[in-house]
Symmetry: C2
Subunit: 552 residues, 2 copies
């Protein structure tokens, strides 16, 4: 191109190059093109070879992201890509790695990547038909399929409601938190609906609603393993965090239904209304599932909304073998499922499902230019407004993987967790804390002598010594987990949970989620071996522990 | 592969093919591979050539999405891609088309597509550092840049707060609705915070909070052009939709500050607390910007939260030429900006910004296994939980396009809107309803004789005739808009707004958003020509209108 120097020409040139970024793709042999091909062609390879979570401390990485100035000079795409590779990608977390077994974010099937690009390129907005057209019926169909998975309605049911403008079998949303908020929002607005002169909470607000109905308060009951988003929901909805009452769990981390029923009775006598009972199908920390049928009975008895937070465990319904674990879920008024967890879809595919297609009537919103009353715009029944067409990825996954494929993935994950639990139990230096019901488990590193010592203290009823030892083991667990994460070869997470065998005291544990289909048995052995080595490097806690256990 | 028939072998084969979908990409010459290359190599071309919004009615399209059964048989990726192309893509809306000028969803720069694929492939979860590492400081930097764009703090300010664990300059979220909810949530919790014996609304809920503070109610004040998400926010937050009070606008669709101040005074006298005054920077329907400085004065006087909903117009701050239009935005306590609107990033990149880095303290949430107190986990200050790394796309766009590049895009869009307004005004069969302040405008098709007749009725004070005529024009506008959308060559939207020159009566109008850089002047002329032709096809409304206007 001939050099142009006058201001007008510079402006023209810039304008032209701006036009180009909207029309001309990067050449296939550009840096971006090459990286992209590499990502496409071998996802697992790319993520393993190139994106090893670096050892750099966060505070060091922050130095690369320190300027709050928006650049005044444009950068070439390829130059920027080099910059991103060097500063961002190299220091990101390779969540797809088979040795990343600490959280619910996992590997994605390879076909997801090109489909995602298509989805982004189409840039549909699902808030209204005018910006999504076929994506709207597609999303409704996926909602129907997921509804069917949970509630197993008959053909007539789906024929009647699937595409009905003023009804909805559920909603896509960014994730489980928004799904839970939506469920409780629906429950709250239904409970405190218009009544005689009272225009309803939607219009008149919570204060007037409680005055009208004469309740002294509203509460949400959930086991102590409930996800923190429930407290957040209670805060946002004006109910208050203190109104989320944690019901104790049994030794299997399942809600104690007797205590739940007692609490319902006690609250009712105090004229405090139970807004919702929340069952958990796959607790975040241990993966256990509440006795949903018993909970449904109690919810029926006290006539309150029954919500099941199956953000993690909902996908288990795809397994004919394990589906029974969630028996009773079909009695829930609403169910949260995250497709971006065990359904292997990228981040941002949360779902809330409603048993009753009319449930959403209490959260309907309309506007003049979109989501007009009677339209099929999905936006009239969602908490969010503009939304992407991510339903397409769930649709494609359900077709390409199919139910039996998902069943195999889920069954294998549970088997793998059982295998891991076995080798932990057999290993002399590890203590299994929670057995896997789904593919989650918790454990910790405890040398044999310490295990024996702890058990002896238990037999002697010496809880003081137990607590002391557990505190030290907790420090050691933190040390190992942090070091392992920083070394970047593998990753397990950690949490603190009440453990029945230690008098219900909170204990720090490793937490493992075995969702990645590529995680091999060998990797599991390696992770334990690495933890044993790291424990030896603890110059403080391990010697203290061993000394304490041997001296008495 | 040799045929295997025993059940065990079938299971093994299926297991192997499942393993393959997580590791082996589609061949470049597969259908998916080819489509993907085509999308990459010529976004505009692909979307124009292949994704013409089809003429099929929604009810026809629904027939392809009717089954609520999850497939029992897996489908080959390429077969499924054919199916998607045929049933979904062919009937989607090509929002990137230069003749799609009806909504705020527009074209994307070509570099976004490969970067999106990388983002999806990395599958980071921004809720915590453990699943995002470098993405966390990156997101904080982008929040800092956007904060700087609005508030123009000095270097010390950003050095102090950008990466401070217990502070936050804002949050990414799925979109403007969640951003607005977050802003009002923060405002509500701050107003009704812990005080003496009262534990604060976060813990105790809204009912106890209003009792403690003795307010008779809380209200949100916004002009009648406010986005419907504000009513939704009020509903969700327990304040109630009726507490969103619409203040009238002047003839330029800007809030009448005298009436706003009067309302504040009146409410204060009634002991009703103004929770927040909301300024709009780019109304959804007309693109106008409220007098933010005057509103800030009033908010200061009545000591209430001042929020600016700049979901659309916020990007205008990138234009040194037009930035003045938002003067006063820097006095807002919180500002909503959607990067997926005028910043040309894909769906799902909403932002809420807070003037005060401590503002988020009132919505902090923690859990044992993540977002622990004192950690840098972004999840402790967001409404949502798990979130994607979409901040990366904003980061890349700010670097590749840079501020002057954005300025050019924004300036050109406004100039184009002014040009379109000019040709509408000069055209004998069109009436400009709202002039563009940003790149939005509204107009309608009104034949010359009808225009003259309407004006005469106005002079004579004959509002009955005016209303009658406007009703008919409204029917005609609906007819044209619907037909144009169905024909699928171009798309304008429609809405109903109060028009001062017609006594403030609501009138149906065409609404146009000229954000796509590829929309040419020629296309604008074509769209008007098409509308003229379509008007002629109205066998009901146009003859009626002409008859009515000539007979008297």
């Amino acid at each position: 191109m001939i050099k142009m120097t006058t201001p007008k020409r510079i402006a023209e040139a810039t304008s032209e190059s701006l036009h180009r970024i909207f029309t001309t793709a990067e050449a296939p042999d550009s840096t971006l093109g090459r990286i992209e091909q590499e990502v496409s062609q071998n996802l697992a390879g790319f993520l393993n070879d190139h994106i090893v979570a670096s050892k750099n401390a966060l505070s060091d990485i922050e130095q690369d992201f320190i300027s709050a100035q928006i650049p005044e000079k444009p950068q070439f795409v390829s130059d920027h890509m080099h910059h991103l590779l060097d500063k961002l990608v190299a220091h990101s977390v390779h969540t797809a790695s088979p040795s990343f077994i600490g959280h619910m974010t996992s590997a994605l099937p390879a076909f997801i990547l090109p489909l995602s690009k298509l989805m982004v390129g189409l840039n549909q907005n699902l808030v209204k038909v005018e910006t999504s057209k076929a994506f709207t019926p597609l999303e409704r169909q996926v909602l129907g399929m997921m509804h069917n998975l949970v509630y197993q309605g008959d053909d007539d049911f789906y024929q009647q409601w699937l595409h009905s403008a003023n009804h909805s079998l559920g909603a896509f949303c960014s994730g489980g938190t928004v799904a839970n908020i939506t469920a409780l929002w629906v429950a709250r607005n239904k409970l405190l609906k218009a009544d005689g002169d009272f225009s309803g909470i939607t219009r008149a607000g919570l204060f007037a609603a409680l005055q009208h109905y004469g309740y002294k308060g509203l509460v949400i009951l959930v086991s102590e393993r409930g996800h923190y988003s429930l407290k957040k929901s209670a805060d946002i909805l004006g109910i208050g965090q203190d109104s989320v009452i944690a019901i104790p769990t049994d030794e299997y981390n399942k809600i104690d239904c007797q205590k739940l029923a007692q609490k319902c009775q006690q609250l009712t006598e105090q004229n405090i209304k139970v807004l919702a009972i929340v069952g958990i199908a796959g607790t975040t920390e241990t993966g256990n599932i509440d006795p949903l049928n018993e909970m449904a009975d109690i919810a029926e008895q006290y006539q309150c909304h029954f919500h099941v937070d199956a953000a993690w465990g909902g996908a288990t319904l795809l397994s004919n073998k394990h589906r029974y674990l969630l028996n009773g879920v079909e009695r829930a008024d609403s169910v949260t499922i995250d497709a971006h967890k065990q359904m292997y879809v990228p981040m941002g595919a949360g779902l809330i499902l409603f048993k009753n297609p009319s449930a959403v009537v209490d959260i309907e919103h309309h506007a003049e230019y979109i989501v007009r009353k009677g339209s099929k715009d999905l936006g009239s029944h969602t908490l969010e407004g503009s939304r992407s067409g991510v339903a397409m990825l769930v649709y494609a996954s359900l077709h390409i993987i199919s139910r039996p494929g998902y069943e195999m993935l889920i069954n294998q994950a549970i088997e793998k967790a059982e295998y891991f639990a076995d080798i932990i139990s057999c290993h002399e230096s590890f203590e299994l804390i929670t057995k896997p019901e789904l593919c989650l488990l918790t454990y910790r590193y405890v040398p044999k002598t310490v295990q024996i010592f702890l058990a002896k203290a238990g037999v002697n009823g010496d809880s003081k010594t137990q607590d002391e030892i557990n505190l030290l083991i907790g420090q050691l667990t933190k040390f190992i987990q942090k070091r392992q994460r920083e070394d970047g070869r593998s990753f397990v997470s950690r949490t603190r949970i009440e453990v029945a065998r230690y008098g219900g005291e909170k204990v720090i544990v490793f937490r493992v989620v075995l969702a990645n289909p590529l995680t091999s048995k060998e990797i599991l052995h390696d992770i334990l071996a690495e933890q044993c080595l790291l424990a030896q490097e603890s110059e403080l806690y391990l010697p203290q522990l061993l000394a304490l256990s041997s001296e008495q």
